[in-house]
Amino acid sequence: MKQKLEEIRANAARELAEASDSQALESLRVKYLGKKGEVTSILKQMGKLSPEERPVIGELANKVRAFIEDDLTKRAAELKAQATQKRLEEERLDVTLPGKHRELGVKHPLSIVLDEIKEIFVGMGFDIVEGPEVEYDYYNFEALNIPKDHPARDTQDTFYINENILLRTQTSPVQVRVMEKQKPPIRIISPGRVYRSDAVDATHSPLFHQIEGLVVDKGITFADLKGTLETFVKRLYGEDSVVRFRPHHFPFTEPSAEVDVQCFNCHGEGCRLCKGEGWIEILGCGMVHPKVLSNCGIDPEVYSGFALGMGLERVVMRRYNIDDLRLFYENDVRFLKQFG
């Protein structure tokens, strides 16, 4: 019996070494250690042995069993490692093949820059308000110190609905609406669509976007206007941008200014981009005209404020080097996907 056990052990060791997969291992386990397995059947025959032999053979049988079990485990681990290795080798990919893309939508370039501008102003304590695009003549012109037949109306060719209702030519009417409703302190911007009867070409559109800004409080000064807009321009165009304020005229601000930023291309020398001027005009602004404050029921002796207005399209065109305004409203996906 002892010899038999030694034989089993030798056979098991050999067969296990030859086993090539987990199935083979399992059948070997059954063959030797299963209920009817060779080691088990030896153990079953123990009863026939003499009491002297029993512990000796018993110990040996258990050793053989442990030996086989140990071999099984080792061999299983080996086989698993081999299988893993094989699988890894088989699964090698050409990782330079293109990835699978889930279609993502993109923001319109006008929205991208507008959102940036909004962030800058919100960061400076401004709220964002909206106003109607179809607007009363009163808010678009009269309350802004532009009475009927004022020459400034010439420069803003207006789409009229009827005598008193028009498509707003500027976002400035929102200033009036806000001042009528809200008492100072006021600190708002108002982006939106505006309309002028300009025929469509590369630089004109009957519809475009403006961003209006308004600050009204006690003691607001021209220096506050300058400081706020300088900060805005530097956040939008970079800390190293050079800004200048140039006198201009708007009927609803006094003093009024246009803000130029030094040409990024030529740094003020004059080049094609800035039409030789060295400066690029980016926005109009000024101290809110006392008549406008009075029109809105705000006492100009107590309060003062400043307003600003800028066109969005031109800023975006310069940012991305877009040379045709029409692209914004054509919405060709090949155009849109360039910015998102």
Binding site: D224, G227, R246, L336
Partner: protein, 790 residues
């Protein structure tokens, strides 16, 4: 610049410095250019000898003295030359306008060392030099410098510098050389030399010759006139022609040139007319009578209305006030006695008239901004002074005038402290006064007396602007706003951002479209003729039909963009717009501007369930859950069998569907197009914003599959609702996993298979419990007509 420098002495400075400084004080320079700057190496020469070319019957061989070295031999084809003529000579390697280069060469074998130039070749016309001819060599007259070898531009005065200013509408006074000279003097702190016209006269009193009366003193503040007899019409002298040309005005003759010259110098439009054609020597400034007409100088017959102001004689209008004169009032060859008119009209009136007549003239452009009535008489005197200077006629004494204008200067208190606070400056009263004095303001104590040509100065804020623009906008410091205001986005603004962000994640890109459309677009989307949505806000003066009404639905704009992408051969387009729709209210009220989300797509195997899935995922993300969905065949723009309407509490939230094939065809899209629209404010109102935590399940779920058989017409949603009713609160999830029609299924029926997940939050479900629930589910399903498929 020469004209400007007559009034203000500017030190020699580079043009760049001049334009920069005057731009920064408020007169923006749009551009500047030196006349004749394209001409190089062209000089004055004299014809010494003329000989016929031996091999040509029209060429001449000229020997030209250009003041240096040997005479130059130049061949010319012109026939107007004579010996001793002074001519412009383009030397070898010279340059003419338009980039034309001249080099020496041979003409029919004879050497030619340059070219003799015509007026045209120098970029000039006969208007600039009336004694020269157009089709021949420009022979320099006595009004040119004959110094041989002198650069031609200098010799003929074609070397002034032209500056173009942007004049803002509040500064009509700057539409004149004197106005700009005043700005320049203040900018560079120089003296302004104004000139008081001196008229000798001495040819009799003109006042009895004309009876002038203003009948509308609100529309005409002053009308003044002087008479010149024995008019001698001839070309103006070179200096005057030069200045007119530099200002872009074509010289005509001395009388016309004088009126233009005075207008440019003083900013005051002038009119000259023949006294013979003034019936009864009577001038009335009145409104036109109904039915009156006038033929204006441009030869157009014009109907006048009672709103329009005219200058009339006893019987008929002879000019449209401030806009244009009548044809018979002009200067003729046989004119002997003329009237110079200098008047001031109401700006709005001129503007309206010019607009209604469809003719804006140099005069109307000035008048409509509001001119200074006190400028009329000096301008009239100046015109007469020029008449005498140019020997254009005999100026009579006296002025015929009807004056209703105010001579009073507007008063503004100089509030030094307020201005310093307002600007954040620290200027003394004297510094402020010094600036204002340069602008012709006077003072009465601390009151500023504003000149009458500056009606724009009304308030102390206007004074602050005058002070700060000469102090320097950029010398004022920049300060930060005081007070810690909290900027924030409103919940609605955040909600809109969330819509956009979700759409991006769902693969749709944002578009922006025009808010105005053509009424035809409603036909294109099959909107019924009687639909109330056809009633749109109409633009009374549109650019064209395509942009003539404000859209009441944004769908056509989306389809337009999809169509454009399709035509541009883009394989697929998944787009959305947060669009406004403009719903009219009453005539005198503003429309409602309704925010709508419009989503549209084609390509990439999109189908109805792609678009529906997008809508469902968006609604889920926005936490809008309590909506109902039902099939609809009533949506005219959509496929009647592939369209669903979403509602909340019976109110329409939106539509999802495949675009009707006819609509797609109308837009030229040969593919299936899918869209959905949602009412943004309804979404916002129904979005659940407060969320609370639900504990994760502690007990296992039970899963059951149900294969059902029912009529094909029964919507799956009805089956789902029956399952929900039957399963009650133990239902965790229903998942549809198969819908099958065809073999083994009776015609008109379909098989629908669901996977149902049940779970209790407080125990493990027993088989018994589960079976009880499933039995109830089957009961509910049978009520709607579904049975278990055997």
């Amino acid at each position: 610049m020469r004209w400007l420098k007559e009034f203000v002495t500017l030190d020699e400075m580079p043009m760049r410095a001049f334009t920069e400084a005057i731009t920064m004080s408020g007169s923006k320079v749009e551009g500047w250019e030196k006349e004749g700057s394209e001409i190089e190496n062209v000089v004055v020469g004299q014809v010494l000898k003329l000989e016929r070319h031996p091999d040509s019957d029209h060429l001449w061989i000229c020997q030209i003295d250009v003041g240096a070295g040997e005479p130059l031999q130049i061949v010319t084809g012109a026939q107007n030359l004579q010996q001793n003529d002074f001519v412009p000579v383009a030397l070898h390697n010279s340059m003419l306008p338009g980039g034309k280069k001249i080099k020496k060469g041979k003409l029919r074998g004879v050497e030619s060392n340059g070219m003799l130039c015509s007026l045209g070749e120098l970029g000039l016309t006969q208007h600039d030099f009336p004694n020269a001819i157009e089709d021949g060599i420009f022979v320099l007259g006595d009004d040119c410098d004959h110094t041989l070898g002198k650069p031609i531009c200098e010799a003929i005065g074609f070397d002034d510098t032209k500056v173009e200013f942007e004049i803002t509408s509040n500064r009509p006074d700057c539409f004149s050389v004197i106005g700009l000279a005043r700005e320049a003097a203040a900018t560079f702190d120089k003296e302004l030399h104004l000139h008081t016209p001196v008229v000798k006269g001495g040819h009799g009193d003109c006042t009895p010759l004309l009876d002038v009366k203003i009948e509308e003193p609100d529309l005409c503040y002053i009308y003044s006139a002087k008479v010149v007899k024995n008019v001698r019409v001839k070309p103006s002298p070179r200096w005057m022609r030069e200045r007119l040309r530099a200002m872009g005005v074509r010289p005509i003759n001395n009388i016309v040139d004088i009126t233009n010259y005075v207008m440019l110098e003083y900013g005051q439009p002038m009119h000259a007319f023949d006294l013979r054609y003034v019936d009864d020597a009577t001038i009335r400034v009145r409104r036109a009578k109904a039915g009156e007409t006038i033929t204006t100088l441009d030869g157009v017959d014009r109907k006048l209305t009672e709103k329009q102001l005219v200058i009339a004689d006893a019987h008929k209008p002879i000019a449209i006030a401030g806009v244009m004169g009548g044809e018979y009032s002009g200067i003729m060859d046989d004119t002997t006695t003329i009237v110079f008119e200098s008047a001031c009209f109401n700006g709005s009136s001129v503007r309206t008239t010019a607009r209604d007549q469809g003719m804006r003239t140099d005069a109307s452009a000035r008048y409509e901004k509001g001119l200074d009535p006190n400028n009329c008489l000096p301008a009239l005197e100046r015109a007469c002074e020029l008449v005498e200077m140019l020997d254009a006629g005999d100026v009579m004494d006296g002025v015929i005038v009807d004056d209703h204008s105010s001579k009073e200067r507007h008063r503004i208190h100089l509030d030094v402290d307020w201005i310093n606070r307002f600007l954040d400056t620290n200027l003394s009263a004297d510094e402020m006064k010094a600036t204002l004095t340069k602008l012709d303001c006077q003072f009465d104590g601390d009151d500023i007396l504003v000149p009458t040509f500056r009606p724009d100065l009304e308030h102390k804020a206007d004074i602050a602007e005058e002070i700060v623009r000469f102090y320097g906008y950029n010398k004022v410091p920049g300060t930060s706003l005081n007070g810690g205001a909290q900027g924030k986005y409103t919940p609605r603004q955040k909600f809109l951002s969330k819509i956009s962000d979700t759409m991006f994640a769902l693969g749709a890109s944002e578009i922006m479209t025009y808010s105005f459309i053509s009424p035809k677009y409603y036909d294109k989307i099959r909107m019924p003729a009687d639909s109330p949505l056809r009633k749109s806000i109409v633009i009374s003066n549109p650019l064209g039909e395509d942009t003539s009404i404000m859209r009441t639905v944004a769908l056509p704009s989306m389809l337009e963009v999809l169509s454009r992408n399709y035509n541009n051969r883009n394989e697929a387009a998944y787009l959305f717009e947060l669009a406004s729709e403009y719903i009219p209210t009453t005539e005198d009220k503003l429309p409602v501007e309704k925010a709508t989300l419009v989503v549209g797509m084609y390509g990439n195997n999109a189908d109805f369930f792609t678009v529906k899935g997008m809508a469902e995922q968006l609604l889920e993300k926005l936490s809008v859950t309590d909506y109902d969905i039902a099939a609809s065949s009533e949506e005219y723009s959509y496929h009647p069998g592939r369209c669903a309407v979403l509602t909340i509490g019976g109110q329409r939230l939106g539509v999802i569907g495949e675009i009707h094939p006819e609509v797609a065809e109308n837009y030229g899209i040969d593919e299936r197009v899918y869209c959905f629209t949602l009412d943004v404010d309804m979404l916002f109102a129904n979005a659940k914003t407060d969320k609370t935590y639900t504990p994760l399940p502690k007990f296992p779920a039970v899963t059951r599959d149900l294969a059902l058989l029912c009529d094909d017409a029964i919507p799956v949603l009805d089956l789902e609702k029956a399952i929900v009713r039957g399963a009650g609160n133990l239902l965790e999830k229903i998942k549809l996993f198969d819908v099958y029609k065809g073999a083994q299924i009776e015609a008109g029926k379909k098989s629908v298979a669901f996977n149902i997940v049940l779970r209790s939050s407080d125990s493990t479900l027993t088989d018994e419990q589960t079976n009880r629930v499933m039995k109830k589910v089957m009961e509910e399903l049978e009520k709607v007509g579904a049975v278990l498929r055997s």
